[in-house]
Symmetry: C2
């Protein structure tokens, strides 16, 4: 697809939020990228336009039958002012995997990445600079055709919005309490758990809400068939360090193949730290703790990067991990990944994509 | 909740579509009901307004995290011009069950039903009259708060739109070919299959699309844990007549408790026809056919009422049911339910709700 991206300027720019109280996903930049799909023209009308509300039909299919998928990645400002993205090709690829599962027409990955680069360049002053901050990039696609029959929509909208963000779990890498869920489930083989579709998150809120009421930060999901095998956390994949070895649930068709998960595995291999993707039961984890071998537990995801787990509750039993302290490997991974993302460490993997020739102030 | 429903008149009414080519879900009436939710005011601002596009924020949570639920019921015009609804309290109740599972604030069921009645009265000229036609009523709720963190939204919109509809599967009760799905699944215990949320339908499209490409009208879903037990069809529950007895999957937490399913069961009991809600494996069904005991198979749902199944394909084997003819019980149920809905038969169950004192032309 060779299409020019139109630029529609807005009259007045917004006041930028205080960089110290960004939070996550609360503020949106001045512009967004927009592209539409219909059967006649395919994906068309790519443009960078002011971030602002748009019109939807009451019968638009997304409200009824939920074809909606998204991605999440970040733009970082390095010490010398260079802007870079972290493994964005993987997000573009996963976006198309999500499209495929949800019967949404494929996008041109190279073109969308180019559009994102252009949008980030336009919005470079929105990239915060400081420990744990970044410009969160949210590409998403949803069905827009007004029709009430159940079938894939014939019309879609793709938007990319930008949100300057602080650290997801507050400013410090502080271990969280996690509840191992036994009643509700997130996903099952043959379903949509392995892709980033809106319905997965809607389905997860009830258990998450109950867990929060009981003082837990997050849910650890078990598999839906046997309620036995560890899957993942709210918006992170999960790792366990048992007797020196890192273990993480294998990609089994119901968990999301996280970009951070993949980066963690590659880093561990690079460091010659043993790491294994396997089916792992929650029983094994508690047994390892019993033996004194459960050394670290942490989540891995774009928003939080690495999120240490200090306590796990399952079936009425709570275990404390590593004295509620940040583990050595957790910290090393966090430092390495954020270091590469922020350009303060070398990138031996070619993970970062510099946005050419732009120096932000 | 005692709130007045505001009425906002539109300048010009639409031209009504040809009653012979209505199809399903293609046309929308002149007005819709609208109500909003926020934390300060709860559900507020109920109004009947012109059906027309409205503004949404790009960051509105429904596009990202999919909190969206709906209902589907119909208004009928009887021979003497009375307008009636069919068991609408059950849809109101199920709407709230869906809200509960999706962390959406409860609505006042009585008030919403009152609002629907008022809307249908305003739009009475949109109710088509004729075999298999009706005014389809679609209440739905979705999250509107602009926020990218994963948690229940603090703002929602409820809309009720109306769509004059012909018979869902064409004009005749004609037996369809159904594919028993073994790879994809619709829902699992602990998930959201027992409520009407948008994501269920998005997740079902891929299998449905493949089935259609192979010449099947619908999917019959099996359970997600063992891929063995019958669940339901696209938007219908399923019944089997085996050796004189009607059998339907029991409500197991992953299938939708259909209003039509319940009506079918009550009618059969009223007629003293044996009916059983139970766990039923697809193997049993094929074995019953082998023994010559599988007499009828049909789907039951608001859109199609009763939809006879003429052929089932599972695991490479196809069986023809009742010579691809409409079964006796299927036809009797269809006639009874539509007769009650259209007022041509007596309603011994108190299922119909007349909309008081309004005679449509
Ligand atoms: C359900 C789920 N699991 C895992 C992850 C981690 O994936 P990534 O590392 O690509 O951000 C995410 C999201 O961001 C997620 O939503
Ligand atoms: C998944 C599903 N199952 C069954 C049904 C049948 O339910 P009802 O008879 O209430 O229309 C429907 C819907 O309409 C449905 O969407």
């Amino acid at each position: 697809m060779k299409q020019d991206i139109q630029f529609v300027r807005r009259d007045e720019l917004k006041t930028k939020p205080d960089p110290n109280s960004l939070g996550f996903g609360k503020y949106y930049s001045d512009y967004m990228f927009s592209m539409d799909y219909n059967v006649e023209n395919g994906w068309h009308d790519p443009k960078i336009v002011p971030y602002e509300p748009f019109m939807m039909e009451p019968a638009a299919m997304v409200f009824h039958y939920g074809q909606a998928i998204f991605e999440g990645l970040k733009a970082y400002k390095t010490g010398d002012g260079t802007i870079q993205l972290f493994r964005p090709e993987k997000n573009m690829k996963r976006l198309n995997d999500s499209c495929d599962r949800l019967c949404i027409p494929q996008i041109d990955e190279g073109f969308l990445l180019e559009a994102i680069k252009q949008l980030v360049i336009v919005e470079k002053d929105w990239i915060p600079q400081g420990e744990g901050t970044s410009l969160y990039i949210r590409p998403f696609i949803f069905s827009t055709e007004p029709y009430l029959g159940v079938r894939p929509s014939h019309q879609y909208k793709l938007l990319v919005i930008l949100s300057p963000s602080g650290a997801y779990y507050g400013d410090q890498l502080s271990p969280v309490k996690i509840y191992v869920e036994e009643q509700y489930v997130r996903a099952v083989l043959g379903g949509v758990g392995h892709v980033k579709t809106a319905g997965n998150y809607a389905a997860s809120m009830k258990a998450q809400e109950i867990a929060e009421e009981n003082g837990y930060a997050q849910i650890l999901w078990l598999d839906a068939k046997e309620n036995k095998y560890v899957e993942e956390v709210g918006s992170m994949n999960i790792f366990f360090k048992i007797n020196g070895e890192l273990v993480t649930p294998q990609l089994n068709g119901s968990i999301l193949p996280g970009v951070t998960r993949d980066s963690v595995i590659q880093l561990l291999q690079y460091w010659n730290v043993p790491v294994r993707e396997t089916r792992v039961s929650i029983e094994e984890i508690f047994a390892a703790h019993e033996r004194g071998e459960l050394e670290e537990v942490f989540g891995a995801g774009t928003a939080a990067v690495i999120s240490p787990v200090g306590e796990l509750t399952w079936n009425g039993h709570s275990i404390v991990i590593n004295d509620k302290q940040i583990g050595e490997v957790s910290q090393r991974l966090y430092d390495a990944i954020t270091g590469i993302q922020l350009g303060s460490l070398e990138d031996p993997f070619g993970w970062t994509l510099k946005i050419d020739g732009v120096k932000a102030k």
